[in-house]
Amino acid sequence: MAASISGYTFSSVCYHSANSNSDHEGFLLGEVRQEETLSISDSHIGSAEFLSVIEVHNHEPCAQLFSFYDYAGNVNEENLNRILKDRRKNVIGWYRFRRNTQQQMSFREQVIHKQLTHILGIPDLVFLLFSFISTANSSTHALEYVLFRPNRKYNQRISLSIPNLGNTSQQEYKVSSVPNTSKNYASVIKEHGTEFFDKDGVMKDIRAIFQVYSALQERVQAVCCEVDQSERVREKIQEEVNKLKEEIALRKRNSAEEERRLQEAAAVTLPDNSALPDSKHSSLTQVVLSGPSVEPSVERPVNSSSPPIYSSTLPPDSPSAILLPRPQAVGSPGHPSPILGLGNGDGSSSDSLNRQATGQEDQEDDEDSSEYENLVSEQLQPPSLTETVTLGRPATLWPDGDAHSPPGS
């Protein structure tokens, strides 16, 4: 069992006691709480400890001795009620102060305690004894206090703790659960409370913060969705890029083989070179069709020799742009950087791509995100995207060329 008394109640009791010229007594008001501590450890499943905590909130001093009992120690219930009035239900004990005596309950105190236990109907009524000891020359005075539980056979003395009485530099200031019963305090808070509290009694600041928090949460959720979608798109694009790369590699191999055969054939039958362009045409056309923009080195001769492939999409007024990719356009909106970027992004690009992309990767990364957004915000369908990639340069996407700058850059 533990007991605590608030600092101001304790000092009030001491004040009343020290100022009386004889013994002093009164009642302690408060409440008794039951605390259950459940401790779980590895050795056993769990143990519950029950602790009874007595809290003294207030006190009711008696104006004089023998105010509610007579010489024989018989308690008069009427007088008791007159002293306690409506606070009778809050009584948890009583106290006595006497100077220069032993810390032991006296004969009359025991008699009265038994009767109070019976009359008030509190089985565990406590008794707080203050004794004031002074040395003979009045140089040292000691106030001693002991809390008794006389109705128990054993462990009759309980230690009384006063929160925040001690070295608070090393401890935090403890807030006790003692309710504030001051009327003045309650009226002031009521008057000024509306500036800080809303109608539910919750502090306004807290509500505002909660709102900010929930807004942030929503946004985060939305962004999550966006990220999810764009990631899927990116995945698809990546797949297509990989496929195209494979095709390119295949075609390269095929074209290399074809060339070799043609060369061999040319070496054998020299005058017959009219067939070459056609076959070249066909093979190169194939190549061009599959991935012209990816291989500029291959594309050059192709582009120069087969303008009609791009006739549907290519603007007639910028043949240079069509024919030759602008090297510096890597990183600018007019350059097929998305494809390059895409290739670089997932690390599955071929060596030639990497060579192209070196020195401009940082720019490309920025461009990546911006290009992503552009792609997403314009809500281009993957098939149409593929189409634009295969059939035209990004320069064709934006006829303005330089005028259009991606949002990110």
Binding site: L65, Y71, S106, F107, R108, E109
Partner: protein
């Protein structure tokens, strides 16, 4: 803690409480052992230290009881002297008397000086009841108590102290203090006058300590008030028989009582017998009597003459005369010893019988003198110088 002398205690106590304390300190004899009176220690005040003058209102009272000393705190309030006091019963934390059985508490009247003393007496009665209750822990001792209680001689003047059970060994001890109903009234006054202190009441107390509940270790002790002790012959009078193993108090106590009574009888008888003896010698030797102790009748000096030889006879009568034989000291009036004293011879054994009456003793003494004197004379002439 040094006890305060009554005067000091009275001077320090608050004036309104002084009469109450006065009666306790001056007249306070309670309990069987009234030779030691109530002592006051630890006089303190319940007022603030700023209060001037004598304002002490609480003290410790030492009360002798059953061979122990009870230390009870008595707490008044100097600022409200009409209120009855409160008590703390020292180490007897279980002792809680019923207030309704303390009439002087229920109707406390601070105007009556003896109110406090009466209240303390009532509390002590309650305490006695409480101790007797504690005897119930031991059936053997309870039997002892009950048997004594039923005896009218001892039942009413008994103090019991039932000691705490020794928590280590579980031993239980008790002490019985009994007042022995011995009549000391007829002891000759002269025997009682010699004590310097106020003798108080003449009382004999028997204290029997039981060190265990089975009464295997019993230690009896006899306490006599100082005058009685002196009258009966000093500390040798305190020898009593040991407690018989397996015996009980109801048999032992009357035995001790009888012993004491017999001693007193001897003393009384001795006095009378001595008186008779001296009276007989006076009548027989008449003018030969030089001097005699007319109060205690313990000494007699005769001056006798035989064939022109004068000599002194000093007769010393012992306390337990006639059981013990008187000592005769013959002294020559002419001869000196080398140390300058008169030559004398002591005779302790001579024809004597305690059954003789005074006259008979005087006659026989005379006869003895006649037979012994020639011998003495020769001795005196031979060994002494003129």
């Amino acid at each position: 803690m040094n006890s305060l002398s009554p005067e000091v205690a009275l001077s320090r106590i608050s004036p309104e409480l002084r009469p109450l304390l006065c009666s306790v300190v001056r007249n306070g004899r309670i309990g069987l052992d009234s030779s030691s009176c109530l002592r006051i220690t630890d006089l303190k005040s319940g007022c603030t230290s700023l209060m001037p003058g004598p304002c002490c209102d609480r003290f410790k009272l030492h009360i002798p009881y059953a061979g122990e000393t009870l230390k009870w705190d008595i707490i008044f309030n100097a600022k409200e002297p009409e209120l009855p006091p409160d008590f703390i019963f020292g180490e007897d934390a279980d002792f809680l008397p019923e207030p309704s059985e303390l009439p002087h508490l229920v109707s406390w009247d601070a105007g009556k000086p003896e109110c406090l003393l009466q209240l303390v007496k009532e509390l002590l009665q309650q305490y006695h009841q409480y101790q007797c209750q504690r005897l119930r822990d031991s059936s053997r001792l309870l039997f002892e108590y009950d048997s004594l209680l039923n005896d009218p001689n001892y039942g009413r003047s008994m103090e019991i102290y039932a000691g705490l059970k020794n928590s280590w060994t579980g031993e239980f001890s008790a002490r019985f203090l009994l007042k022995l109903p011995v009549d000391f009234n007829n002891i000759p006054i002269y025997l009682l006058k010699d004590t310097a202190l106020d003798p108080g009441e003449d009382v004999a107390l028997l204290s029997v300590s039981f060190e265990d509940a089975e009464a295997t270790q019993v230690f009896p002790k006899l306490y006599l008030s100082p005058s009685i002790e002196h009258a009966l012959g000093g500390s040798s009078a305190l020898h009593i028989p040991a407690f018989p193993s397996g015996g009980c108090l109801i048999d032992y106590v009357p035995q001790v009582c009888q012993l004491l009574t017999n001693k007193v009888q001897y003393v009384i008888q001795g006095y009378h017998k001595r008186r008779e003896y001296i009276a007989a010698f006076l009548s027989h030797f008449g003018m030969g009597v030089v001097e005699y102790d007319a109060v205690g009748f313990t000494k007699l000096t005769l001056l006798l003459m035989w064939k022109d030889f004068c000599f002194l006879v000093h007769v010393d009568l012992p306390l337990y005369f006639p059981r013990d034989q008187p000592t005769l000291t013959f002294q020559s009036i002419y001869h000196f010893t080398s140390s300058g004293q008169l030559y004398s011879q002591v005779q302790k054994s001579y024809p004597y019988s305690p059954r003789w009456d005074g006259n008979e003793m005087a006659k026989r003494a005379k006869a003895y003198f006649k037979s012994f004197i020639p011998q003495f004379q020769e001795g005196a002439f031979a060994n002494g110088k003129l």
